[in-house]
């Protein structure tokens, strides 16, 4: 789920899950059922102890006293420490009341401006806006599509602080409850997405399109850098991803 409920998988965060890439050997996986698990490398140092940024549950905010919704919490930036897991210091969902479309537009513009030459006077002013805009503690929705599923979904990237929680949420989103797992071919071991190659073991990988329009494998760069350049996500077949990887890396 996107938005406030994206933290549904928070409870699984402490497990080192061996997420497995399953195979799909048909061109229309939806017919055979599809069980998707995304492979994540848990060997990367920086991401092991990541925290999910709690987008504030509405129910918890209702019991919050006015002071906890004071300036401090409302202006909380994206950065979180371990202490800030308490829901009351989280973001306020749906505030300020600005349409998602407009919010996303602002975030995208902030990212574009971040890439521009910061030397001109105008750019300076605009960079101030950019800094503020990127500190927005509101949602940042990007599209997620998966090969074989006609309509994409949206996911709030600001509800996550690391790749693992992102992958958990995507799993929840695209994992079908009544899977026919007859075609599942499991790889029992972990691999980093970088290393997934078509060695006869096919599967799915998570990729993203960056600001330049290139498709990259998710997980290569530090999370903040990823957030700053991601435009949309795509869960694609490994075979296609390799082609892209070869081009970009």
């Amino acid at each position: 789920m996107e938005g406030g409920s994206a933290i549904g998988s928070a409870s699984t965060l402490s497990n080192d899950e061996n997420l497995v890439v399953s195979s799909e050997d048909s061109s229309s996986p939806t017919e055979n059922g599809l069980e998707l698990r995304l492979t994540l490398s848990l060997g990367r140092k920086g991401y092991r102890d990541c925290r999910v940024s709690h987008v504030d549950d509405s129910s918890s905010s209702s019991s919050a006293t006015p002071s906890s919704l004071s300036r401090a919490s409302v202006t909380a930036g994206i950065k979180r420490t371990a202490d800030s897991m308490a829901p009351t210091s989280g973001q306020v969902v749906g505030w300020p009341p600005i349409r998602t479309y407009r919010m996303n537009s602002m975030v995208n513009q902030a990212k574009t401006l971040a890439m521009e030459d910061p030397n001109t006077e105008v750019r300076q002013e605009v960079n101030n806006n950019r800094d503020d805009a990127t500190k927005m503690r509101s949602s940042m929705f990007v599209k997620v599509t998966m090969d074989g599923i006609p309509i994409g979904r949206k996911i709030d990237l600001n509800a996550h602080k690391c790749y693992e929680s992102l992958s958990n949420t995507l799993e929840d989103m695209f994992l079908k409850p009544n899977t026919v797992s007859s075609t599942q071919e499991t790889d029992g071991h972990l691999e980093t997405r970088l290393k997934i190659l078509p060695d006869g073991s096919s599967g799915l990988v998570l990729t993203y399109e960056d600001k330049e329009g290139d498709w990259m494998l998710v997980g290569d760069v530090p999370w903040r850098m990823f957030i700053g350049s991601v435009k949309r996500l795509r869960i694609m077949k490994t075979s296609e991803a390799t082609g892209a990887a070869k081009m970009n890396l």
């Binding site: 549950d57 209702s62 969902v93 009341p97 479309y101 537009s105």
Partner: protein, 576 residues
């Protein structure tokens, strides 16, 4: 008793177009009811779950235009989870099966699929106009079917929808023989379009009045498009990057000068700051200007343009214009009726771009102002009282102070008196959004004075149930009440159950209402759908039976309906 034959009465009814007036007419007598229902052309359904397609067709067999709204307003801010509802498919299926000659479909906050669009495009020979606002669930493939199959299409108007862009050739799907386009708005699409197909389409559409491009249409394409369509009245500029190619700029300026009918400018989704100057030749005729997406254009450029827009009636702008910029607006735009100022900096620190001073300046300078949406970081009672005195004509007044619970920044008092002044002075106020630190007192004022109020949005306000009760008891014309993060509970909810029959809907999230209270309400009012949206732990409420009465409800959405419980609710929605 009728002294005229039916045809004459029907002819008279033709002059009555507002659906509310027609609803009133139909209540006069059986004969008028019958004449009215056969002659109604435009049907408006404000809540798609309040009735059903079957009932629509039974009552109005001859309509041509249908407006449907789905999700509640707070869905715009992500408070309604994905999959809640608002599906248009059953409506289109039912209409397709019937013999309705549908010509226009206007949807807001509904889930539309490619399948729906395909069915729509094939089922109604005379279909002319599709307007989708804040909808989702479809892709450019659906647009392709509309383009390909609707031979007489005049309007394709896509406003702020969430569309899966397959970067395909949907624009090429308009047949070469299609020359009827009047409105083409695809500003919300993210992907590249076929520019050649677009140009050809525009060139063969002599009736095209409104063209709104998306961000991937570059400057030189814009120049060519405007040269093909000098008759354009509304233009949404897509991308206007800092072009080194001066030839494109010159061509654009030449094209703009020929667009003597241009009255509305919008877009500038990716805009370099200097680009506005190219539009100066048309400024003096502009009545509508939307620069609220142009984050890269700073205040001084905005001001330089607005100084020439003396006929402006509608202005949507970012707060980067500043108080000084608003003063320029106030002294220049004497015809201004609607103003929206959106924030660029959401987290309340740093540049205080617009303050209460800007609002006061506008109210003092623009005598025709009747609608305002104003985002700011600070406000005072004194300013609001002044605004109320200057502008007693407000119909819509929406003030959003970014920080919840923020008091008057000079006196540290709640803003009760300020909003009180607004509702007391503005006797025609129909829509109000309040913010900042507010006690029950403001609701006492609203209940007392806001006699025409139809829509009220409350967030982080009030102290006790009394606040909500003042509103429910006082505002006789209330139709939509939406409340979040305010301490109103069961006592207020249950005080006057019959009130909800006079309203379209009530939304309460993160308030103090309990499951027990909602159940009691549902029992007392079987003509209401009482929906609990509970995303978090679906089973939790069922298990704790002993405590369920006191279990706080996350989100409550209730609405009157004549067709009972809806059958398409997802598992996380409980209909009591």
């Amino acid at each position: 008793m009728n002294y005229f034959p039916d045809e004459v009465i029907e002819h008279v009814f033709d002059f009555v177009t507002s659906h509310r007036d027609r609803n009133s007419i139909s209540l006069v007598c059986k004969s008028w009811f019958k004449i009215e229902r056969y002659s109604r052309q435009n049907v408006f359904i404000g809540n798609c779950y309040a009735t059903s397609p079957e009932r629509l067709l039974r009552r109005f067999p001859c309509f041509k235009s249908l407006t449907l709204k789905g999700k509640p307003h707070f869905a715009d801010f992500n408070l309604v989870p994905h999959g809640w509802g608002g599906f248009v498919q059953p409506w289109i299926e039912a209409l397709a099966r019937s013999r309705v000659g549908l010509e226009e479909l206007r949807l807001k906050r509904m889930v539309v699929t490619d399948e729906s669009l395909e069915l729509l495009s094939r089922s109604f020979v005379n279909f002319k106009s599709l307007v989708l606002v804040s909808c989702e669930g479809f892709s450019t493939d659906g647009l392709a079917s509309i383009a390909a199959n609707c031979r007489h299409l005049q309007d394709l108007d896509l406003q702020e929808n969430d569309i899966d862009d397959h970067r395909g050739q949907w624009l090429s799907c308009f047949p070469e023989t299609s020359t009827t386009l009047v409105t083409l708005n695809f500003a919300c699409l993210e992907g590249e379009t076929n520019l050649v197909a677009l140009e050809r389409l525009v060139a063969r559409s002599p009736n095209l009045r409104s063209l709104k491009l998306n961000r991937t249409v570059p400057l030189e394409a814009l120049a060519r498009l405007m040269a093909c369509a000098p008759q354009i009245v509304e233009l949404g500029v897509g991308s206007y990057e800092d072009e080194q190619d001066s030839e494109s700029c010159l061509r654009l300026q030449a094209a703009i000068r020929k667009c003597t009918s241009l009255r509305s400018l919008s877009g500038f989704l990716e805009a370099a700051p200097h680009c506005l100057s190219a539009f100066q030749p048309v400024c003096h005729n502009l009545t509508s200007l939307n620069l609220s997406y142009a984050a890269e254009i700073n205040g001084s450029h905005l001001i330089r343009l607005i100084e020439h827009c003396k006929k402006l009636q509608r202005l949507w702008i970012l707060d980067s214009i500043g108080d000084k910029g608003l003063e320029v607006v106030a002294s220049t735009c004497k015809e201004l009726q609607e103003l929206r100022v959106f924030p660029t900096d959401l987290h309340g620190g740093g540049n205080a771009a617009v303050t209460e001073d800007g609002l006061v300046a506008i109210s003092a300078g623009c005598p025709k102002l009747h609608s305002i949406l104003y985002f700011c970081q600070q406000m005072t009672n004194e300013a609001l009282i002044t605004v109320a005195k200057n502008c007693p004509n407000f119909i819509r007044f929406r003030l959003c102070i970014l920080e919840p619970h923020k008091p008057d920044h000079v006196t540290s008092q709640p803003l009760d008196e300020g909003f009180g002044a607004i509702v007391q002075a503005c006797k025609n106020l129909k829509r109000l959004s309040v913010s900042g630190l507010l006690t029950d007192q403001v609701f006492l004022y609203i209940g007392m004075f806001a006699t025409q109020l139809e829509m009220l949005s409350i967030a982080f306000a009030g102290d006790t149930d009394k606040g909500m009760l003042y509103v429910l008891n006082g505002c006789k014309k209330m139709r939509k009440l939406e409340i979040r993060d305010s301490p109103f509970g069961d006592a207020a909810l249950l005080a006057d159950v019959n009130k909800y029959e006079t309203m379209r809907s009530l939304w309460m999230s993160s308030c103090e209402v309990t499951l027990g209270g909602c159940k009691r309400l549902a029992q007392k009012a079987p003509w209401l759908n009482v929906e609990i949206i509970n995303e978090n732990d679906n089973n939790r409420m069922e298990e704790e039976n002993g405590y369920e009465g006191r279990q706080k409800v996350d989100k409550l959405y209730l609405y009157r309906t004549v067709v009972g419980t809806r059958v398409d609710a997802p598992p996380f929605v409980w209909i009591l």
